[in-house]
């Protein structure tokens, strides 16, 4: 029993080491773009499918926005979740696996994505359809790996007039 407990302890330590991988969101406010960056001291496997856009015009599958209006109320859809995934509009979201191994001490950088695509469809389903009242947003991501979930949320960003007009 003591040996079993010791083995469980070792496995937990290994998981902890592997979970030192981290994901961050880099924003280029001038270009209104963002990308996802994963760094890891140990090799980690991700499902690249989760970081791909289901179709043009939508955000990657596991990327979401949290939107607040001018009085700091949450702008959300009928499911009352604060998180809005524009990829939820797609019909192609039955899960698939596209494994990508990120080697130890390397960095994965996604392509640059358009911020406006995070908002696609929000106005149609939102509790606040007057997008002129939308004020700020955060970009978030939750990515599954073989050693746990990587999460990140950006700082609050201002919603540009372009996004308000488009969506």
């Amino acid at each position: 029993m003591r040996i079993l407990n010791w083995m469980i302890g070792v496995i937990a330590m290994l998981s902890s080491c592997a979970s030192n991988a981290s994901i961050s969101i880099e924003v280029n406010a001038n270009k209104q773009q963002y990308r996802l960056v994963i760094t890891t001291p140990k090799s980690v496997e991700i499902n690249l499918w989760e970081l791909e856009k289901p179709t043009a015009g939508l955000a990657p599958r596991k990327v979401f926005v949290v939107v607040k209006d001018v009085v700091n109320n949450s702008v959300h859809c009928g499911d009352n979740s604060e998180l809005y995934f524009s990829s939820s509009k797609s019909s192609d979201i039955i899960g698939r696996t596209k494994a990508l191994l990120i080697q130890s001490d390397t960095t994965y950088e996604s392509q640059w994505f358009e911020i406006r695509e995070l908002f696609t469809g929000l106005k149609q389903c939102a509790n606040e359809k007057d997008s002129s009242r939308w004020s700020k947003f955060q970009i978030g991501v939750e990515l599954n790996t073989n050693s746990g979930v990587l999460k990140s949320v950006s700082d609050w960003l201002e919603i540009t007039s372009d996004i308000k007009e488009r969506h």
Binding site: G78, S88, K89, D92, I94
Partner: protein, 249 residues
């Protein structure tokens, strides 16, 4: 019960249920069934079928603006009747009147991070042209997964149908035909710049479609809804999208 026009129905008879789940029909608070034209005025036709012609004189192709212009030349009653009689109906039905769906393999548990957990039964829908189409039946109570856009358009609001599966079926079906003169009830198909199907809806008003979209749940004055009605061009507003209209053959 809420129909795609957002009307909340009272009562529970089969006729009331059928009415409540169809566009252009309302169940009154007293349980009466009223046809509603697509411009929002009750016609109170008391379930009388009116077999008026719904042919339209559109010769200008499939641009949304042209549809609105053409459709506005028709009277409201004609449009309402058109929807009742001509909404595409491509699923084969069993003796019980329900779509024929044959499950295949084990349940699929969807990624719960976006719209919550659900178990879906994969299977095949039998189509009236003898073909089959892959679909998923939601076995959970999570309404986000009850149906997607294609499930609303061709799956009687009962199934999830992936883009690829509708795309492939449209390539081979004998029951629908692409039309340059869209009518109320037409299937509206949106394709990306590569020609792949990305969305579908039903033309339910002149220049407007009623649609679902993936797991999205819409906020309405009557509560959460899987469907919304928007201008045709707003159904899938991504630049480069092409729009097609399909009618029963």
């Amino acid at each position: 019960m809420t129909d795609p026009t957002g009307f909340v129905a009272m009562g529970d008879s089969a006729a009331q249920w059928n009415c409540a789940t169809r566009v252009g029909c309302q169940v009154g608070e007293d349980g009466s069934i009223n046809r509603v034209n697509l411009w929002g005025e009750g016609s109170n036709s008391n379930e009388q079928n009116q077999n008026q012609s719904t042919e339209k004189s559109n010769t200008s192709g499939v641009k949304p603006n042209s549809i609105a212009n053409v459709a506005n030349t028709n009277n409201a009653q004609t449009a309402s009747t058109a929807l009742e009689n001509e909404k595409i109906d491509v699923l084969a039905k069993g003796p019980d009147g329900k779509p024929v769906f044959k499950g295949i393999g084990g349940l699929v548990s969807v990624d719960p991070s976006r719209a919550g957990p659900a178990d879906l039964q994969p299977g095949q829908l039998q189509m009236i042209d003898g073909s089959k189409m892959m679909a998923y039946k939601n076995l959970s109570k999570n309404m986000a997964w009850d149906y997607d856009c294609h499930g609303y358009s061709v799956g009687e609001s009962s199934y999830w149908i992936n883009n690829d599966d509708l795309h492939d079926w449209l390539d081979h079906t004998n029951s629908l035909v692409k039309s340059t003169s869209p009518e109320i009830g037409s299937l509206v198909v949106y394709r990306d710049s590569d020609g792949k199907v990305v969305h579908s809806a039903i033309l339910t008003e002149p220049g407007k479609v009623t649609m679902a979209a993936g797991t999205v749940i819409y906020t309405t004055p009557h509560g959460p809804s899987k469907t919304t009605t928007v201008p045709v061009a707003d159904g899938w507003p991504e630049p480069g999208t092409t729009i097609e209209y399909w009618r029963m053959k």
